[in-house]
Subunit: 405 residues, 2 copies
Amino acid sequence: MAISLTSPISLLPVKGIRIATAADEIRYQTRDDVVLFELCKNAQTAVVFTKNQFCAAPVIVSRQNLNVSQPRYLLVNSGNANAGLGVQGLADAKTSCATLANECECSEEEVLPFSTGVIGTRMPVDKMMRKIPSMLENLQESAWLNAAEAIMTTDTVSKGWSKQMDLDGHQVTITGIAKGSGMIRPDMATMLAFVATDLGVDSIILKNMLTDAVDQSFHCITVDGDTSTNDACTLTATGQAGIHFDELSKQAKAEFIEVLNTLFLSLAQSIIRDGEGITKYISIKVDQAKDEFMARAIAFTIAHSPLVKTAAFASDPNWGRILAAAGRAEVQGLEVNKLSLSINKLQVIAEGEVAIDYTEDKGSREMSKDEIEFCLQLGLGESSANVWTTDLSYDYVKINAEYRT
Amino acid sequence: MAISLTSPISLLPVKGIRIATAADEIRYQTRDDVVLFELCKNAQTAVVFTKNQFCAAPVIVSRQNLNVSQPRYLLVNSGNANAGLGVQGLADAKTSCATLANECECSEEEVLPFSTGVIGTRMPVDKMMRKIPSMLENLQESAWLNAAEAIMTTDTVSKGWSKQMDLDGHQVTITGIAKGSGMIRPDMATMLAFVATDLGVDSIILKNMLTDAVDQSFHCITVDGDTSTNDACTLTATGQAGIHFDELSKQAKAEFIEVLNTLFLSLAQSIIRDGEGITKYISIKVDQAKDEFMARAIAFTIAHSPLVKTAAFASDPNWGRILAAAGRAEVQGLEVNKLSLSINKLQVIAEGEVAIDYTEDKGSREMSKDEIEFCLQLGLGESSANVWTTDLSYDYVKINAEYRT
């Protein structure tokens, strides 16, 4: 059960983006599983891909195509990751691009393919391609909600976020959708996110905006520490709002960046709130670190600790496990006598000793809440980091043990 | 249920080592929970401690004492880790050393304390100390089995290994015991190992022997990636066999080292075979790596992957998860088209493609065995690494979620 998360009721269309979805029965028999995004001419798109060295065929092809030209189409399917299939997988990904390109008179390189689902099973390209003509006929601006549903795999709710803002008198919209429920989902399937705005943004600035936003959002979440062969996140700027980022006032620029970052963080946190087998939504804040590297390393080591995660599942205020995880992070110079820890607002450790007012009962009360924040103050400097994660429940094991049975 | 592991039936005494155990009811009410090792005069002892920066009081005190002099006594308790207790914990650890030293006329620094169990609860030093006089009276050479049982926490079987060998006409014995069932056990409790031989060995050589043996054994196992604040492993050489390592022939030296390494590996693998919630004993071999760092990094990334571990629990030959884990290891230069993978003797991937003869049925058959070996050949060089781990089962979650309830 997702924690305080429901599917979006509406998502705003973005001028210059048209969308169609279709049911190709790649894996799911009763729902749409393919999405086609059409991006208007001159739209700029930046993409962040997984760093996994064994990335899937669509990631390889998308990277290559993006080097050649700006994309006009994003072709996404759920149910099959087209991963682990060697030369055949690459050929299938390219065929899907070429077939689409042929239908809509663009070049093969102007199509970026994205796949998520089971690996090691050949992609049914023919199935995928048979509805391309009708999808091209049915493209519409208002299909973001359908798209959010069609890219789901084991997500229990669809994920999207949208906002319209007034920037120096111009209406600018930004909308994004994401899927994901574990950093690597069943069989390498994974998180995907597609975000678009009708603001005009130059490609280099767009790439920087995307990188910064991802650093503060998708790069700060983890369910199980496993990253995927298929992760990708796109940011498209269509320029159809009649205003360009460069022309904005300083204040409007800042507002846009803030909304963009909020959107990314919201999508990233949605993935955690819908994390596999989640019963607790856990925020980890590491503060007073020497530098950001130290703060992040410690936050992630805590977030990945199976013992911290099982304690959270049990509502057990087992703060020793949090300290033990922090202590094994690959950083130097920690000092236990400078360390403080709180769970939500409850002080647990103050400068290396159990806080005077702390009791196990108080600790249990905080740990039994749906949403838990661990705040670790290292007393060493001024850097901080935030990471969001899930607990480790019976259902996590069940979902991942039984996915293919 | 431990996988192919039962408690040892007998362990050989080591000349120069006397042992006593007692029931001090620190946590367990119906069994011995304190062990006293007396090491003969001139015995040399080397110790490897946890690298966790938030190490427990006994680790801090043992390290300090070892800097001052060679130990005459090892004082071990289970049930309380004496960790996370700040200044009080240090004082308690020192008090236990001083009290013992007072009873047996050695210096406080000649006692090394070791603790394993619940953290954050004050060590009942008075309880621990009350039976010291009778323990000193009851010291005997043949109590290794009792010691192996007294240091257990949630281990389901006790762990020991012992061998007598003929080295250039001299009878030399080596015996060791260990406890542990997760790299970090409930509440920071953890693995401890105590090994002794009656061979004479100089302290520097002894330290190197220990470091090498640990590198190939305890540093190659993981249950959950969590290391502990209390981990320690000792190696004592009493010199009572009437022969010194330096005097041995080249062949006898090699034999001793081999037996020593076998003992360490056996104890380490025992910990995995008794790993928390284990249903599958998993060996991971990474071969043909550029260097050992690469091989180890990949092997551990696979071993820590919750998705690989849940797949093993489900007997699911989900090789995509193994590849995905390898691909996210923090190493550079992997090439998917050079990669081969086998599960036990079954070839799954050959040079980046699914092996021609591979079927899911064959894969399932191998994965359903109690003992599974993943062998990953990278095709990049000649280095290799072995790591041993467990699957991730409902019982792992249960044990760690319910430990304190």
